[in-house]
Structure formats: C-alpha cells, structure tokens
C-alpha cells in the first residue's frame, strides 16, 4: 500500500503552535526540569477510564492499582454531590519512598519522575510503609514494588501518559511547570489547586484542581458499614485498609462536619504483617538478652565466669538475632535478593542502617561466643583470650542498643504512620529490650544461676513499670494528629484491641515478679514475653491501620 509523501500536520496541530515552546525532545538531564500533573476534578466524571487504561498500559494485575478513582458522597438530600479523586502516586519532590528504599530501587529521575527498578527491589515494603499516599504496592506477578511512574516509558518516546490520552473530559494534564506556556503551569500557578497531605513535607508534583476536602483527607469521609460500597464490595479487615473513618458517629472522630460517606474505594494492603511484629520482639530479646547479662556483670550480680554472661548472652542474643534475620528475610518478597542490601546500599534507609547494626551486633556475639568456646576447648591459655567478651562489650553494648532502638527510626521513616512518629519510641524500644532481656535472662538464670533471679525480677518489674508508663502516656495523651488518634483508637478499642489488652495484662502481671518467689517469677517472665509479643503486634498493626489514600 502506498503512503502519501505529502503528509501534512493535522489542522489541530497547527493550533497549538503558540502554546508550545520549542525545546529539546528528551530532557533527562535538564536540571530542574519538573514533570507535574494536574488532575482537574471539575472535569472528572468518575468514569474510571484512567483506571483501566493504566491497567492495560502497564499490565497491572487484579487486586492492585496504580491509579483509581475514589468517590465520596457529600451532603444531605437534595443538596448532595459525589466528589471524585483520581488517586495515585504524587511524584513527590522529597519522596519518602526514595529515602526509605534500601537498594535505591525507588529513585528519582533528573526530570523529577519518581521511578522504580524492579530488578533492584528486594520487596521489603519500606517504600509502601513510607508513602504518605499509599500509592505503592507489590505486584503479585513479579513481587516487586510498583506505582504510577508517569508512564515514563511513554514520555521517553514522546507520548503522553495512557491516562491522559484516554480521559474523555481531558481532566488529566501533564507538563513542565517551568514552561510558562504549558497548561499545567497556568493552572498550578494561577488557579486554586491543592495537594494531598502537604503537612508530610513531600512537595507533591501532582496538583488537584477543584478537589474536595472530603476526598483529599482520607479520614474526612465515613467508611460505610455493611461491607458494601455503592456498586462494589467493601473488603476490610486483616491487612486490608480502606479509606474513610471507621467510626460510626462524628464523636468517634471523622474529620468532616459535613455529611460525607465513602462511596467507592480500593483497599490497600498494610505493608508489614505478623513477621514484622515478631521481628521487633525477637530483636528486643536479642538486644536485651545481651544487655541485661552485661548489666548483671557490671553491677556485680554475676561474675565474668557466670554462664549467664559467658553463654546465655551470646547464645540467647545470637539465637534471637538469627531469628530476627530470618524473619527479615522471610518478610522480603524477594528473599534471595537480601544481599542487595549490602551490594547496593542506599544509606538514608534505616533498613540499611539497621542491617549494619544487626551485622555488627552479630559479629560481637559470634566473637563473644567464639572466645568463650575457645577457652572452653583449651585455647584459653592463649594470651588475651580471657576477658575478650568484656572488652567486646565496649562495642557490643552500643550495637545492641542500636539494634534495639533503630526500629524507631525505621518506623519514623514511614512518614504518614503517625502512631510511629513518637519521640519516645527510641526510649520505649530500649525499655522493651530491658523488659525482654530481664525476662529471658531470668528464664535462663532460673536454671543456671538462681541467685540472679531476684535481681532480674526487680529489673523486670521496673522495666515493666516504665513500659506501662510509656504506653499509658501514648494512649492517654492528646494526639498530635487525627491519624495518631485513630491509630490509638484502633489499637485500644478497634480491630487490634484484643492483642493490645491481652499483651498489656500479661506484661503488667510481671509487676508482681519481685514478690513471686523464684518459682513463680520465671512464669511471670514467660508471660511478660508473650505479652510483649502481643503488644508489638498490636502496635505494629495499629500503626498501619489508618487509611492514607
């Protein structure tokens, strides 16, 4: 078939001359070039064309989405309306997902697009935890994190993103905000636009025109009861979190004084499940299981030759640290890729920093154990071997402490999980390590060094008291944000209340340890350990129970 050689630009192409400044085709290295998107909710008719066009373009499986259209019904008949929000990655200038990613699989291109490299993703879900918009998910096909990336693969061949092209009402626009002639620049700079959650200091490059507060704020609308939206199922519970406030009355806290009900939403998977709850517990035991014997040694309760210091410290610490490592790896969607943490560390990530602490701590414990083992096997006559564990403790104590408390920073890197943004969390984790350490050491001491049990019982009770005081403060103080408020509500009265109260009671029982005698005190210690685990689970899950999108 012949092709006309005299092809002309279409008439429509001519009309945009004035609006299009000539510029290089590809601007990968143009400093400061910033792609922005405008979603014009005054034009959006809620048809979901963008949703399916994106699924098609990016082959996104069922159950997860890069973009979707949230709907909230606002108002009271006959003055009601339905507010839509095309919901997706905000392409933040200061992207928390990039900071949190341990392997730089999430990265920012020079043109501003927050992109991802699936081959580098280890599946730790730190990006998901970090994203204040809950815009990232694990693809069930390839087990790697993904999200909207502006259809970077289309931009790079000169095409607009799939959602922009499909939209019947041209409600989605893309462009360079520094190009004054672009439509997006005109809207962003001249019209009232909003971004989602500016208080998270992410500086989104996705601007909404005409968006309703009831959609921008995930807690402004009420989550309907009865498991149904207006034309889809509302699946809630477990690791799934829907937008909207679960309270059934305004006094329970939803953020809008206008009537607003979530009418359509897509549930999000809370990133971290029981494995992370369990990891915080094993890690606490590992740190405490080393630090408490060290403290016993330093306070003279036991001697350097005590099996508690010689064997329990490295073995309990080591065993639980090994368990911690296994859990961390088991939590990865790509367990075999955990070595990438060391091959391509992204140092702002607390997952990387934590890995260093854990590694350092592990080395100390191995050397501690090895020196004692060597001594036991007769190499003890070698000069310098005796006293090695005590010398190592100068390094071991800081590593143990760091292992105990770095998780506070890891959690804090989850910028929008307000429950975890607590300045007392490092101290609390240290207290929990002491509590766990006292408890676990007491269980060992009851067998190998009963004389230490009364001291440990006192320490257990003391650390329990401190733990309870910290929990008490967390629960009863006014909360800085509605999200923190809701998270505490979910922890103490909501879907995680069972674990919370079970854990609290079991831990609290160990206040009686100093009076329980050497038979019952270890039982209380065991109970405290179980209680602490329940508490960790309630805390970790409640922190993720607040909708962000």
């Amino acid at each position: 078939m012949a092709m006309s050689s005299a092809s002309r630009p279409s008439p429509a192409a001519v009309t945009v001359d004035a609006q299009t400044a000539p510029r290089p085709l590809i601007q990968l290295d143009a400093p400061g070039s910033r792609w922005v998107k405008v979603i014009d909710q005054t034009r959006c008719i809620g048809c979901h064309a963008c949703t399916t066009a994106c699924k098609s373009e990016n082959e996104v499986p069922l159950g997860v989405t890069r973009t979707y259209v949230k709907a909230v019904d606002v108002g009271v008949f006959p003055q009601a309306r339905r507010a839509f929000q095309v919901t997706r990655c905000n392409q933040c200038s200061d992207a928390p997902c990039v900071a949190a990613c341990p392997t730089a699989a999430m990265f920012q291109r020079p043109d501003g697009i927050v992109d991802f490299d699936k081959s580098a993703c280890i599946g730790c879900k730190a990006c998901i935890a970090a994203c204040p918009y809950d815009a990232i998910f694990i693809n069930p096909e390839d087990h790697s994190a993904e999200k909207c990336n502006f259809c970077a693969h289309r931009l790079d061949v000169g095409l607009e993103p799939a959602c922009v092209v499909v939209c019947p009402t041209q409600a989605i626009l893309v462009g360079d905000v520094q190009d004054a002639s672009s439509r997006v620049a005109a809207i962003v700079q001249r019209e009232p636009v909003s971004v989602r959650r500016p208080e998270k200091e992410t500086r989104p490059n996705l601007f909404y025109k005409g968006a309703h507060q009831a959609t921008l704020d995930p807690l402004a609308a009420r989550r309907p009861g009865g498991g149904t939206f207006m034309w889809s199922e509302l699946v809630d519970g477990g690791q799934l979190v829907n937008s909207g406030h679960p309270g059934d009355r305004p006094s329970h806290g939803w953020n809008s004084s206008a009537a607003a009900v979530l009418a359509y939403d897509v549930p999000h998977h809370a990133p971290w499940d029981w494995r992370v709850s369990l990891y915080t517990w094993t890690k606490g035991i590992a740190a405490g299981g080393y630090l408490v014997p060290l403290l016993l040694l330093l306070t003279g309760v036991v001697s350097a030759s005590s099996p508690i210091w010689m064997w329990s410290a490295p073995m309990v610490g080591g065993a639980f640290l090994a368990l911690t490592g296994l859990l961390l790896i088991a939590d990865l969607e790509h367990p075999t890729r955990f070595v990438k943490l060391f091959q391509r560390p992204q140092w702002r990530s607390w997952l990387v920093r934590g890995a260093v602490f854990i590694t350092g701590f592990t080395i100390v414990l191995v050397l501690h154990f090895a020196s004692n083992a060597a001594e036991l096997l007769g190499a003890g006559s070698a000069p310098g071997m005796a006293g090695a564990p005590e010398a190592l403790a100068w390094v071991g104590a800081p590593f143990a402490l760091a292992t105990a408390i770095y998780t506070a920073y890891l959690f804090a890197q989850a910028k929008a999980r307000d429950l975890w943004q607590s300045s007392l969390l490092p101290a609390h984790l240290a207290v929990q390590a002491a509590l766990a350490g006292s408890a676990v050491t007491m269980l060992v001491a009851a067998v190998v060094e009963p004389g230490a049990v009364p001291t440990l019982a006192v320490w257990l009770a003391a650390s329990t008291a401190a733990h309870l005081a910290l929990v008490w403060g967390e629960v009863t103080l006014a909360h800085p944000t509605a999200h923190a408020h809701l998270a505490v509500h979910e922890m103490t009265r909501g879907r995680h209340a069972g674990f919370f109260w079970f854990g609290l009671v079991l831990v609290a029982a160990s206040l009686a340890a100093p009076f329980a005698g050497s038979v019952f005190a270890p039982a209380l210690a065991a109970a405290a350990l179980v209680g602490l685990l329940a508490h960790e689970h309630a805390y970790v899950q409640a922190g993720q129970s607040v909708p962000l999108a």
Binding site: S10, I26, H48, T52, A152, D156, T169, R183, T228
Partner: protein, 993 residues
C-alpha cells in the same frame, strides 16, 4: 545500541518519537494531546505500520516492542467510539486498545470500557466453538459441532419455513445492532417480517416523543456550543454516546454553559450539575411543562420560529375548528393549554422546590437558541406515558427555536450517515403479529418483551428464533416466563444464540454460535454525536493486520480465536444455504457483483460501499494513494460533513417541484421522481397525496422548504396521528400521571428505579471484562436514610423487595443520593448460571426451582477465584455479584409507545430470618395477569384505525413491510371515532392498580 541510557533514548527518539518536533521534522502527523505540550497523544499515523514502543513491564530496561496499529470500533456500548489495536508484530496478538485519533466522534478518547476490550478478547470463559445442546434444552450440557453442521441444520429449517409459507416463524431478536440495517436487509432478502429488537425495553419511550415532533426518532444535541444543557438522567457517565457527549458537555461547561440535570438518583452527572433536580419518578414532564408555561406566559419564546414551524394551523383546524385560524388565537390557546402548569403544581408533583424550578426556567429562557437537551431512557423508559417526557423536553427546544441551531438539538438523521449498500432487497410482503400486534398500532418498536406472553396465549409459534447479542431472560422483565417459553419446544422450535460470550438466554439455546467482539468483526455505523456526519468502520483487527502484511484472508474465522466468526459472513453463508440454487430469489442478494454466481465477500461489500456510497471518501483515499477500503481499514473512520445546519430551512430545488400540489396547511407534494437516496439514515415516511405525489416540502412564508419528515412537514406540536388513532388526550405534549404516581401507590409502597446504569458496565456483555468487574460488581438497593430508619434497615443489611409478582433479597446502600420514598437498584448486576458453564468472574451459581407457576432462585455461591489460562482469575477478590431484580418485574407495556415502563411499585422491608442474599421468588401466573391488565388499556388498531391500516404508515419501523400488508385483514374497519374527547393535557383515566 548505545550503552549510555541518555544516548539510547535520543537514538530511539530520532527513530520513532511521536513528540512534536521529531514527528514534524519527518513530515509526519503530530496528534496533540490534552496537555498541549510537545508530547503526542498518539503515534504519527504514518508510523502505524511499524510503531516502536518501550515495554512497560521491562521498565526501566528500554526493551523495544514493535506494533502494527489497526483501528476498529468499540462494541461495548452504542457510542461506537474508535479504538486503535496495538498488534504485536512478533506474536500477532493484540497487546492493548487505545483510542483512535482519526475518529471524529470519540476523538481518540474512550471510557473504561474501551481499554477493557482486551479482557474480553483474552477471557478464558469465552465461547470459542459452535456448540449444540445435549439433552434437554436448558440442561446445561453442550457438544462442539462444526459450523457446517450448524449452518445446514438452521438453513434447512428456515428454508422449510419459507417454502411452506410460514415466514413469521423465523425471528431474529437483536440487542446491540452494531451495524445500521445489515441484518434487516438479510431478513428482507428472506422475505420475512422477522426483525425483533430490544428497543421497547430500552428507548421506544424516548424515541416516540421525538418522533411525533420531528418525524425522526432520536435527538442530536449540540452540547459543545450550548449555553444551557438540560439532561434528563446520567448522560455524562452512562447515557447514549456517553464518551463523545461527555467530552462536549464538559467543554461547554468550561466555556460557561450551565448544566441542569433531572435525575432522581445522585449520578455522576448530577454531581456536575449547576442545578440537580431529583424529581419524584414520573413527574419530569410536569416540571418541563411548568418551564414551558413560564416561557409561554412571559412571552419568552421564539414566536417567529413557532409561527413558521409548528403545525399550529392544523391544531386549530382540528381541535378548535370554530376558531379563527390566526397565530394569535393559537397563542391564546397555547397559553390556556399550559396555564395550570405552575411552578407550584410542578413542585407538588415532583417534590422539587418551586423556586428551583423557577431558576431553571430562567436559565432556559435565557439560553436563546443555544439550549441543548437530551433524554433517552430513564424517565421515558420508566413511566406509563413516559414517552411524553421526551416530547415535553423537545417542547422547550421547539419553543425557544433551539432546533438544529448551534448549541441546540438536531433531529438525529441530519447528523448521521447511512450509506447505500450494494443491494436493497424489497420490503417483505408479510406482517408479523407477534412483534407488531393489533393492540399497539403506535408502538415505535417491536413488542419484544411481550413475546413469551403472546406465544403462551397461542398467537403463534417460532420455528427458528435467533437471539443475537441479546439476553432477554436476564435483560427483559419477567425472565421466568421467558424461560418457560424457551424451554417449550412446541413454542420455540429451534433457538440459536449468536453471542461472543455466555449469557442467561444462551443457556436455553439449541445452538450457541460464537460471534466476534469489537476487534473481531465487521460493522459500519454512524451516530449523531455533534453537528456533522461520519462513518465508523469496525473490523477484525488481526485480519486487517495480516492483510496489511500481504496475506490474503478469505474468512474472518481464519484470524479469530478458535472458530469465532463474524455475523456478516455468517449471514451471507446462511443465506446461500437457505437458497443454494437461487431458486427462492434469496441468494442473489448475497452474490458478488463483480463475479456473479459467487458469494459476496465482506471485502467486496464494504469496498463497494466505500467506493460508491460515501461522498468524498474515494477522493480522500486517493489523496493518500489508497483504495477507499484500504483507507477505511487503515483509519477506521471518515467524516463526511461538518456543520450540517438546519436542513428543514433549506429550499427545495426547482427540479424537485413538478406538478406540485399543496394542502391547506402548506404541505407540498410533487410528481417529480425521488432523487436517488444518498443517506439512508432512518426517518419517517409521510404518505403520498391522493394522486400519488410524494411529499417533498412545506410552504413557509411563501417558500417551499424541506421541512421535517412528518405528515405535515412541520414540527408536530399537535399530532394528527395520535388524534386520529384514538389518543386525542395525548395529541399535544402533556403530562400523564405515571403508574407510580403517589396517588397510584398504597401507603406502604415505594417506587423502585431499576434502570440506572453503572459507568463501567455493559448491560449483559460486561461479564467478561475483569477490569470492569473489579470496579463494579454488585447492585445494592439505594435507600434514603429516612426510609432506612423507618424500615429498620442498617447499612449493608438484607432487605426484601416485593413487587407485584414476587420478591428479591438484596443488600441496602443507605445514601443521601436518592429521594426519600424512592429506592433504586442498578440493572447491570445479578448475572447467574445454573451449572458450571458460564462467566465465572461475575455470574453467581444458582439453584432454580420450578413448581407450576412458582419459581424460586437461590444463590449457591457467588463469584470467586479460579484457575485458568489467565493468572489474574486466581486473584478475583469479589464474591458479591449482585441480584437479578428484573426477574421479579411484570411486563408494563405503555399503550402508545409500547415501551416497557420499568419503574415498579414495591414494598421494601427487612429480610426474613429465612431469607438469604440473592433469593428470588416469582409467580408467573401473576405476571401473566399483569400482562392481561396492561393489555386492557390499549386501543387496538382493529378498533381505532382511521383508515383500515394496522399502523400509521408514516411512522418509522425497523424492516418496514410493503405498503399493502399494512391493511388490516378482512374489511379491517371497526371505526369508532371518539366523541367528546378534546385535545387537552388531561391525564389518562386508566387505572392499573
């Protein structure tokens, strides 16, 4: 390839970029997108043969993929938006569907249903081979048969019916036609009056109102240029031509147009309205007449337009023969007619605040000729007398002169182009009373939904019954009666389901024959979406791709999955088998013109049309060095005209005026022969005068103008047809009270609105699109909180909805988005299957129980994950697939339009402890009694025909039979002119409850 990523992109950019500078520097087309930046919305059309894109899944690796871009047309609603299939050049499979920028209606954009076409193509549950039932009909067991076996069997039966002069026993029942007139012509070539459509459960009400005014049965609102847009129902997200119209409505809004929406339910459209009116169902016409009254009473209407174009003289002469026939007298009568329709009256009827109606009236009064209005189904399809809603809506256009003006509303035929095909078989010489019964002489379309009742009554039987992309068991009211009839082989001899996907009706077929989806079939169509005319070409994209690569494809089955076929080739083949030697005179309409004696191919069929019947297309194709068919295969659409303008105002050329006669109202008849038709867009066909001259125009202020295809040639404010056929009280736009008017309801009854659509669903064909099902998969009952409190129903709790003939059990969606006293439930959900065969992602598995007339359906399980060739089916997370409410509705045929009046008077209450979600119970004896009762309010032709015909000949009718069979059998005359009835705006006295 360079290793440096930046360099690589530059290299890639130089080779394939769609970006403006790169494309234009190569002399190629740049398709600007909405962002109006250097990025293109689509690849340059010059590169559609070999377009290189980066693989999104391999990202950020820049893995190149090569595609051939082939246009086709979406088949997922009636808008017929353009699609562009990306055919992978390596695998020859479609990778994705985007919009077609060359399509003038959809302009490259789509709704959610466009991209989801891909799901339908790859659906693991689709039907790939012809199937024949095993065991009893409806038993659910199937065996694969060859096309030859099926075709020979079906053709043999049709041949026998024709030869034995039982033409009315062959019936083709269509849901979505897809192509203008193709199958009607096949049926005409067989000489049968066997066309049956879904239209009377859909748009006959809407059509009738427009048709009586303009002689054309659809509106074409020019939204983009409007100042005020008045929509009845949800045209922004789910109406006819939703994507093309939504584009233009939002454009107009951005330019300052005001949007007024009547919708009892809070739709996405209502959300965007400047004024959202949620009327009591059925009161819409009262509000419209109150607005009209305001325009009339305050003199704010286009007096000149009314004087020139309304048939007011005929009205005065007929209804007030004693009065002086002056326009001033008419104006006085007009004022009188609507004087009672005050804002307060409308407020009392509708529940809308009178002040709000007043504000809307002011907007309408200020719109001038830039008032675009649209109604289609909704109120017109919901209410007894609902067809008056579209008539009263168009009254506002007719008053303001916003008819065929920029920003006004056009008759659709002027914005539609149906080219002349190679053959036009003659009108059949037979009349089928099963579809066009005596009781409904004015029905705009076939009384399709009464078919099972007519069969049960013994009015006839069917020997071969085709259902084609149609699912009456599920879509129509009273599905259990359909099942009763479809399983009775004495009533339906052979049922052939032509369908791309499983449906509830196909379960009761003898043959299930797989037909192609939107990317697997040929169709040609044109729809009124703005003031212009275009044609769109649907084509099997793999066939087009392989032909473009040099292969010869003779039969679409060669490229489609399995043995999926397309209907056009199927009909040609079947027609040959009915008349293998040509003796019946059928075959000749399906023969090649170029090679007589050989089968007509689809290439020749469309090639002939594009060469001979589409003005401008051959020239445009030649300019690109293409044959017209090649051009259409490459671009998929062609715009014939833009800016058609007011056709009615055009002066009739002198050569058409030969030996003319003019009646007393100015209708001009001519003896000049009719020029060869160019555009076959359907319009009314006013009859010749007594001397056989054909109507050609109408005298307006001394000039013979083309006018409208009505008997008078004018806009028929007054319908002499309705006057003469026994409906004097309905002869002018009026407000009949609905069967769900508050006065017709018992104190504990509510109104159920069952007609609303979901933006992402496709009636009966969305079940095979996983992305759509994921978004919308259930249909809870919308209940206002006040009603929920009164009834003690909590959010998501089970409720029992009792209709006249049974009940269904559904969940409650408690919402401020519905008027108190009204409940609503979308008809899009509630798909079911009895056995293992069917659509697993969206069909519940049910048990059907049947004791005499007592039917029960109970849900055994909902949707859920399953293993298939598509790993996504393991991830189906929804189980709720809705409830099939239509089963519990009796038939409600409007006595004039024939439209099924969907709204139901229901009792809603908390479910019984024994009720389970999805339970349905129906008594079909009650449904037959309801049918009889509604039949009793009809005014049959045999009693009311003024001229001994079965139906006014001028009215549009699909597959119109020859004029002589319009005469009633026997002497046909039982004329009883009604005395005393006046052309008022009175309400029908018929009480149905």
């Amino acid at each position: 390839m360079n290793d440096d990523p930046t360099k690589r992109i530059e290299e890639l950019g130089a080779r394939v970029s769609a970006a403006r500078e790169a494309a234009e520097s190569r002399g190629e087309t740049f398709y600007p997108g909405p962002s109006r930046i250097h990025l293109a919305a689509f690849p340059p059309k010059e590169r559609w043969d070999d377009w290189v894109e980066l693989d999104s899944r391999a990202w950020p690796d820049r893995r190149e993929k090569r595609y051939m871009l082939v246009p086709t047309t979406c088949f997922n609603c009636e808008s017929a938006c353009g699609l562009l299939a990306y055919v992978d050049r390596e695998t020859l499979q479609v990778r994705k569907f985007e919009g077609n920028p060359e399509h003038p209606g959809s302009r490259g954009r789509n709704c959610a249903k466009g991209p989801a076409t891909l799901n339908q193509v790859t659906d693991p549950d689709r039907i790939l081979y012809p199937l024949k039932r095993v065991g009893e009909r409806g038993e659910g067991r199937w065996e694969r048969v060859s096309w030859d076996e099926a075709l020979d069997d079906i053709a043999g039966r049709i041949r026998r019916a024709i030869v034995e002069e039982r033409p009315n026993e062959v019936m083709y029942h269509v849901g979505r036609p897809g192509e203008d007139g193709f199958t009607e012509r096949v049926l005409a070539s067989w000489g049968v009056d066997g066309h049956n459509s879904h239209t009377n459960v859909c748009s006959s009400g809407g059509r009738a109102g427009y048709h009586y005014w303009t002689g054309i049965d659809r509106p074409s609102p020019d939204h983009a240029n409007a100042k005020v847009i008045l929509l009845i129902s949800a045209h922004l997200e789910s109406g006819h031509y939703f994507n093309p119209h939504a584009q233009r409505i939002v454009e107009a809004k951005q330019d300052g147009a005001k949007l007024v929406v009547f919708d009892t339910r809070l739709s996405n459209t209502a959300t965007h309205a400047d004024h959202w009116l949620s009327p009591w169902p059925g009161s819409e016409a009262a509000i419209l007449l109150a607005i009209a009254n305001e325009l009339i009473a305050s003199g704010r209407f286009d007096r000149e337009f009314v004087r020139r174009w309304w048939n007011w003289e005929e009205y005065l002469a007929t209804a007030h023969p004693d009065e002086e026939p002056t326009f001033e007298r008419f104006e006085a009568r007009l004022r009188e007619l609507y004087a009672d329709y005050t804002f307060e009256f409308a407020a009392a009827e509708s529940g809308i605040d009178a002040a709000v109606i007043g504000e809307v009236a002011e907007l309408v009064a200020g719109a001038g000729t830039r008032l675009s209005t649209h109604t289609w189904r909704s109120a017109a399809a919901g209410n007894l007398g609902g067809w008056q809603v579209s008539r009263c809506l168009f009254l506002l256009n007719a008053l303001t002169g916003a008819v065929a003006t920029p920003g006004g509303t056009y008759p659709n035929a002027w914005n539609k182009f149906v080219p002349v095909p190679p053959y036009l078989p003659p009108h059949p010489h037979t009349w089928n009373d099963l579809t066009w019964p005596d009781e409904y002489p004015l029905a705009l379309n076939e009384l399709s939904f009464l078919l099972p009742h007519f069969l049960k009554e013994g009015r006839g039987r069917l020997d071969v019954y085709f259902t084609r992309v149609y699912n009456p068991v599920w879509t129509n009211p009273d599905g259990f009666t359909w099942i009763e009839v479809l399983t009775d082989e004495s009533l339906v001899g052979l049922h052939v389901a032509l369908t791309p996907t499983w449906n509830e009706t196909a379960f009761f077929a003898d043959y299930v024959l797989p037909m192609g989806l939107g990317s697997e079939r040929h169709d040609l169509h044109s729809y009124e979406q703005y003031d212009g005319q275009w044609i769109g070409f649907r084509q099997p994209v793999l066939r087009a791709a392989r032909e473009r690569s040099g292969e010869a494809i003779a039969d679409t089955r060669e490229v489609n999955p399995g043995e999926v076929w397309e209907e056009n080739e199927f009909w040609i083949d079947l027609s040959w088998r009915i008349d293998p030697d040509g003796a019946l005179g059928i075959r000749r309409y399906h023969e090649s013109k170029a090679r007589p004696g050989e089968r007509l191919s689809v290439d020749e069929y469309y090639g002939w049309i594009f060469e001979n019947s589409v003005p401008g297309l051959p020239e445009r194709a030649a300019a690109e060095g293409l044959e017209p068919l090649e051009f259409m295969r490459r671009y998929g659409a062609f715009e014939i005209r833009k800016g058609v303008g007011p056709v009615h105002e055009s002066a009739v050329p002198g050569d058409e005026l030969l030996d003319t006669a003019t009646d007393r109202f100015g209708r001009v008849y001519t003896a000049a022969p009719k020029p060869a038709a160019v555009n076959l867009a359907p319009v009314g066909s006013p009859e010749p005068d007594a001397d056989g001259r054909r109507p050609v125009g109408v005298v307006v202020d001394g000039v013979v103008r083309r006018g409208f295809p009505t008997p008078s040639g004018r806009l028929e404010f007054f319908s002499p047809t309705l006057w003469e056929w026994g409906w004097r009280e309905a002869s002018v736009p009026s407000y009949p009270r609905s069967h769900v008017h508050p006065t017709a309801l018992a104190t504990d009854e509510m109104v159920l609105i069952s007609t609303f659509r979901l933006p992402v669903q496709i009636h009966t064909r969305g079940g095979n699109a996983k992305w759509l099902d994921e978004i919308a998969h259930t249909n809870p009952l919308w209940v206002h909180p006040l009603d929920a409190d009164r009834l003690g129903i909590g959010e998501g709790e089970l409720v029992r909805v009792e209709t006249e003939i049974g009940y269904f059990v559904v969940k409650a969606w408690v919402t401020e988005g519905i008027r108190p006293g009204v409940v609503a439930c979308s008809h899009h959900m509630g798909r079911w299957k009895v056995g293992d065969v069917g659509q697993r992602q969206v069909m519940a598995t049910v048990a059907l129980d049947h004791q005499g007339d007592q039917w029960a359906m109970n849900r055994k399980r909902g949707g859920g994950p399953f293993d298939s060739s598509d790993p996504d089916t393991r991830r189906i997370w929804w189980t709720d697939v809705g409830v099939h409410q239509n089963l519990t509705f009796p038939v409600h045929p409007d006595p004039i339009s024939g439209q099924h009046c969907w709204h139901q008077a229901v009792r809603v209450r908390r479910a019984e402890p024994s009720d389970a979600y999805g339970d349905i119970a129906v008594d079909t004896a009650k449904s037959h009694a309801a049918f009889r009762r509604w039949l009793s309010i009809t005014r049959p032709a045999s009693d009311h025909s003024p001229d001994g015909t079965r139906r006014p000949y001028w009215l549009m009718r699909p597959l119109k039979p020859a004029r002589d069979v319009y005469n009633l059998p026997g002497d046909g005359r039982h004329l009883q002119p009604e005395e005393g009835a006046s052309a008022g705006v009175g309400r029908p006295k018929a009480r149905l409850r």
